[in-house]
Symmetry: C3
Subunit: 281 residues, 3 copies
């Protein structure tokens, strides 16, 4: 037992919203382990949450219940859902927040959380995280079959995939997908893997329709981001002196631009959605 | 077993203060489940902590131990106390921080934490959260009878209740009580409940001396806040277009002013304590 | 069982980095209790992390595994290590972050985390917290002998100790070591303990080479910090009126300058590393 429930929301930590959801879950499933992915998703930024979930889910055991509440449509007819896969059960609003992770997983069952037996009594119109999603996650962690929670749903909503355009074997376009706590700029250009100490391979990872790119030499590429052009893709921040910009393969396999012991976001002034290009010599 | 201890402090998360309290509690009660309500109470803001506790306690199981450390009087003669009720045991300084929640609960026993057997050895003058309150919470989670912790106390300190003045069946005055992570403005006008899809009932919730107001039509009222006047009380943020102000019943039953997918606090520039009025047509 | 793993990083809480490390650890050691010391260490500030660890470790039970990831050298040849002591096992990069705490503990065994059986497969060059340190901590919490993780290491890297110069029985110099969430200014002048209600004793605590100073009267000293001179060392913030500066012995035994119900850092404008002096009349 001792199922893990992993939480991902835009609720922040300055109110008791997250704590209250945990109270609800422990009342239903006292043995659950409650783990925070992050609660600092930008308010209502479904796409950022979808990305963060994609980078995290595989590090949790396959019986984990993921509870994602980034829900601009709360109180409107958008459906609350639960999706069972071979690597995790996902409880979330049906607004596309699961679509990046579901591009990598086979859906075994998906249901709408319509059964009032698994809601809190007297549900509010503004906090389904507490009244619908948390009870569902806790009952699933208790072993309640997903089909108990409500009727099946097909055709889940999907987000546009992040930009990844391989316009020629010499030109790749992407976008800034995330800026992390350190100011590292994480792009949509991935999944990148080192095949030898000098060569990289690119496999689209958000379900985009591009083929795997043959392995290429890391030093043959120029990276254009903001007003800067960088040469080569490095193996670690330590490969350049402190204070210097470097492009490298980040911990989730995307092209990432950072400053050794500094903030690339500050140095370059880029924001989410800005273009990033790779040009081969 | 596996009692839950729910923590509420103004310690923030940038120091190890909260982590140290958890270390102390796990040393005494290794099976305790430690849940954070929030640690982002404004420094020394007893009233904000009292409000947050009121909105949260009922979602935890009745055998929860609540540990509240917002303690401007640390090192002065204010008493450290524990209060047993039918829904939770509360460990806190006696400065009124429990008074909103205790307006809803019957006190079974209240004691002063004077027994040094349940303190850390060599208590400091600045961090009773670590030296007195955390050990008490952990011993209570272990099942130690509350009467072991010290002698009884009567006449606990109470805070002034938030403003809720029903000056006539057509005029209600309140104040801004809390501004949440999303910029939603939460007022002292509650507890509000929908009795039909169009009508609301108001029951004072902080122990104020007003009678329950008969059910009234949500569309008959104007809400005045900052320099704005809004018409009607909505059922959810989704009832108005994105970027639009709306008044509605928040997740804890109070009148709340928000912007669909935006920040009302930013739009209106109000702060804690500002007046809010309801006028009926 | 149910070992505690206490986490200390500079990762912040706005990404999923910490959550991912927890997923890795629970996959390996499902019964571990994961406690956050703080994740708000300034990026790459090894010395601040060393200080925070020193103030926290003794409040955890001796079988705790401490996981410290403040790692500017990730991807360079700095060693990942684990150090077993009579009070805790410490998993960290060998960059000095353990040196303050190890000045108080006897090292039983120290190893380099070289055994790939205890790494995640396919380790990244940028996130050893996930790929090397978290698995090591979880295996140690599972009871894996530390010698399994890799070969021994001697001569761990140590940081310069914080400034504490007892230049005469009438002059003590130190520095600002930490500024906490409340704006309290915590100095390197400690460990201070009250021997009577009026007298204090000073024992250097970071392994500095000064003798214990004989007990002295708290009211005989002037404290110089920023442009201010304060007279006497108080027992608690409550000993001065709200809004007033006071010097006192903080909860970890260091000389601390604060404002009762206010922020000393704001009032004095000092920053980390600024000098603090004690002069005796």
């Amino acid at each position: 037992m001792n199922k893990t429930i992993a939480l991902l929301t835009d609720f922040g930590l300055s109110d008791s919203y997250v704590g209250v959801m945990k109270g609800v879950m422990l009342s239903i499933c006292p043995s659950a382990r409650l783990i925070d992915l992050t609660h600092a998703i930008q308010p209502q930024n479904i796409r950022q949450a979808a990305y963060v979930l994609l980078t995290a889910y595989r590090y949790f055991s396959p019986d984990t219940v993921f509870l994602i509440v980034v829900d601009p449509g709360v109180g409107t007819p958008r459906e609350p859902i639960a999706v069972q896969t071979h690597h995790g059960i996902y409880v979330a609003p049906d607004n596309g927040v699961l679509s990046y992770v579901l591009a990598h997983l086979e859906i075994e069952r998906a249901v709408m959380l319509h059964n009032p037996d698994y809601h809190l009594p007297g549900i509010s119109h503004t906090f389904h995280g507490r009244d619908i999603f948390s009870p569902a996650a806790a009952h699933l962690a208790n072993g309640t079959p997903i089909t108990e929670l409500g009727p099946p749903i097909n055709n889940l909503i999907t987000l546009n995939t992040p930009v990844l355009a391989i316009t020629s074997p010499r030109h790749i376009c992407g976008e800034v997908l995330h800026i992390d706590h350190f100011g590292n700029i994480i792009t949509s250009i991935g999944f990148l893997a080192w095949t030898t100490p000098d060569t990289l391979e690119l496999t689209p990872q958000f379900g985009q329709n591009h083929p795997t790119l043959p392995a290429f030499r890391a030093n043959d590429w120029h990276i254009i981001v903001g007003s800067q052009q960088l040469k080569g893709i490095r193996r670690s921040y330590g490969a350049v002196p402190p204070g210097t910009l470097a492009a490298l393969v980040g911990s989730s396999g995307q092209l990432e631009i950072g400053v050794n012991q500094g903030s690339a976001a500050q140095a370059l002034g880029v924001t989410l959605g800005d273009p990033v290009a790779l040009n081969r010599e």
